[in-house]
Assembly symmetry: C2
Homo-oligomer: 354 residues x 2
DNA sequence: TGTGGTTGCACCATCGATTGTGCAAGCGAG
DNA sequence: CTCGCTTGCACAATCGATGGTGCAACCACA
């Protein structure tokens, strides 16, 4: 598995071969050589030599000395949904632009696991951390604060650090209006035909419930209670909720709002056990975007958070280091049924296929 | 953004407060203290102190000295498909089990970018690298070999290092048979009704084409030419291919095989521009699994590679360090239409939702 | 020729952990 | 009381890069 393992070149190798001292070499390769009044000629010689020997700095040594590791952390609940995986993709691109190495970890929605994985990042002295969808953002905050690591919350806000989130309330309101409008085309609709499934007791879910009810009130003039069901972010619990509803009413609601694509997977599981008739006249809204989800056999309206903008704002916050926590809200996008949006995949080089 | 940034404790802090030397502290915390004949009592004292001060080792320093960083790399083309994102998820779990910190990067199917990002990993002296779906595995191999980094190919084989891949040929054969059998239930089918879209000139695609043709030959007794279209791994190119086909024949093929979920997104884009009638009687196979894809308005058979097993075998290969490259093949799973498989999401703690 | 200022670089401590080596104290045997 | 062995640990070099400080050489000017 090895072939020609000449050890990697260090500044000392460059120092020997160039006749300059190690500190000179370091200064040249850092770009700080002007400040140290190294002659242009010496700088040129060393740069050329570095190129020739394919020198790249040992980041551990650099980090140890300068206590900046060049690592940028992102904490996700899971990778395995389109929302979070495109967040990882976008994060990587933006981190690299700032010549940081992105390190993405998942906390599995377990407050303890979240703290553990963040501590493992802290051990590598990451320079900054994005906390996305943490169950306990403030617990993670404390770990970061103790280690002096700048951090922001993305998508779920925390009390103790700045946050960039989607406008969940307005998004949910728009989504709810869209599915009700659509469902009404199929005949009159009562408030009791409009439900919400999924989510838990977190900020995003609460806001979405408010938006959901706001839309219902606007349209029907009155809100009905008992029209939402918290199932956590779990496919199996969500599937159970649908089964229960179905057992009780002999059908699904005409029109319903699903809190996230993870909960949507619960609907898929329910679908697996029932015949296509069951879904003949439903209209669904999902607060997340998944291209395949958009083309299911019934109308699916989706909300796509603006991940790129959220992360950009996040990096801005890190750069400016506010003393008091800020909260930034980003408008998400309403996506009508049967829509295949472009995404990170389109930036691939593979367009010129053979 | 900061509050009580007492610097993190080091072995020197522990040394001072315990009265022992730094080297003793190090030995104790490493578990090598028996070998160094440190008394159990001293060990206990230091361990307790470490716990109290919440000591965690500075990984940069450890890495610098011992030249083992504790980082495990995974190179992906992209995050943003269910296949690769669940690979990232599974990789994280398996790396952590070995107390490594997973670092996942994406090479965007660009040979140069692949090498660049791997070099950035090498600068952090990662201990090992999994190369998944690289466009140029052998180029990446050379970077690793030069740095003496153990590595294996996953999913796409390379000549120069060991590889763990899916059985693409048998998988494609099974998938092709499944869609043909299904399509035949809707009436007689000719070989000209069975197409393949997507992929490029890589090992996986070639094998899949062979499997595809093998199945057609088995069933129809003869293969027809011109029944496959390479579009690269690009949604937009694939969409174009479908448009072209549609323009020429006034319809889609009755039955077709799509090389990957990325290409499947090309079909989604095509679908966005056409009415549901267009898809009324097609049967589709996709060499990748996506739960939402499985429930589209037409039958979709899918193949799910066994990611867990592939990664496990990969770690085995790293552990055993074979001199000559090995090739390990793992059977993938055929998934019938309308199937929502369980996945990494189900291992989340969120089952006990409130 | 002496003084003062600039140029161009070298020296060295340092970051925190690891590890080979050395050595004092204690103990038993002779 | 001394020799030799074990026990229990300390010392110091080291990994590679960084950055503060010091200093020789050179130049200009009086």
């Amino acid at each position: 598995m090895s072939e020609n393992e000449h050890r990697k070149a260090t500044i000392y190798d460059l120092s020997m071969k160039s006749g300059a001292s190690a500190s000179t070499v370091s200064a040249v390769l850092n770009g700080t050589w002007q400040k140290r009044r190294i002659s242009a000629e010496t700088a040129r010689r060393i740069t050329a030599l570095a190129e020739e020997l394919k020198y790249t700095a040992n980041q551990q040594a650099r980090a140890l000395r300068s206590s900046r590791s060049g690592l940028a952390g992102l904490l996700l609940p899971v990778y395995d949904t389109r929302f979070f995986s495109s967040m990882a993709q976008t994060f990587e691109a933006q981190a690299r632009q700032r010549s940081l190495l992105p390190v993405v970890v998942s906390g599995r929605r377990d407050p303890e696991e979240e703290r553990r994985v963040v501590e493992s990042l802290v051990a590598y002295s990451i320079d900054s951390l994005f906390i996305a969808g943490a169950t306990d953002p403030d617990g993670v905050h404390r770990v970061c604060a103790a280690a002096g690591i700048p951090h922001v919350n993305i998508d779920l806000p925390g009390e103790l650090a700045s946050s960039v989130i989607s406008d969940n309330r307005q998004g949910a309101r728009a989504l709810t209006k869209a599915i009700i409008d659509h469902a009404r085309q199929g005949g009159p609709l009562s408030p009791d035909d409009v439900y919400m499934f999924g989510g838990r007791d977190d900020h995003a879910s609460r806001e979405r419930v408010i938006g959901f009810h706001a839309a219902k009130t606007e349209i029907f003039g009155t809100a009905s209670g008992g029209d939402t069901e918290n199932t956590g972010y779990s496919p199996s619990m969500t599937a159970l909720a649908f089964e229960r509803f179905y057992a009780r009413h002999g059908r699904l609601p005409r029109c319903f709002f699903i809190n996230s694509s993870i909960n949507f997977e619960g609907l898929l599981r329910f679908m697996g056990g029932h015949d296509e008739q069951t879904f003949a006249d439903i209209v669904v809204g999902c607060f997340d975007y998944d291209p395949f989800g958009s083309f299911l056999p019934f109308p699916v309206y989706m909300i796509r958070p603006d991940i790129t903008k959220m992360l950009e704002r996040g990096f801005d916050l890190l750069d400016h280091e506010n003393a008091t926590p800020h909260l930034i809200t980003i408008e998400p996008q309403l996506v009508p049924p049967r829509t295949a949006l472009k995404g990170p995949l389109d930036e691939l080089r593979d367009k010129d296929a053979r």
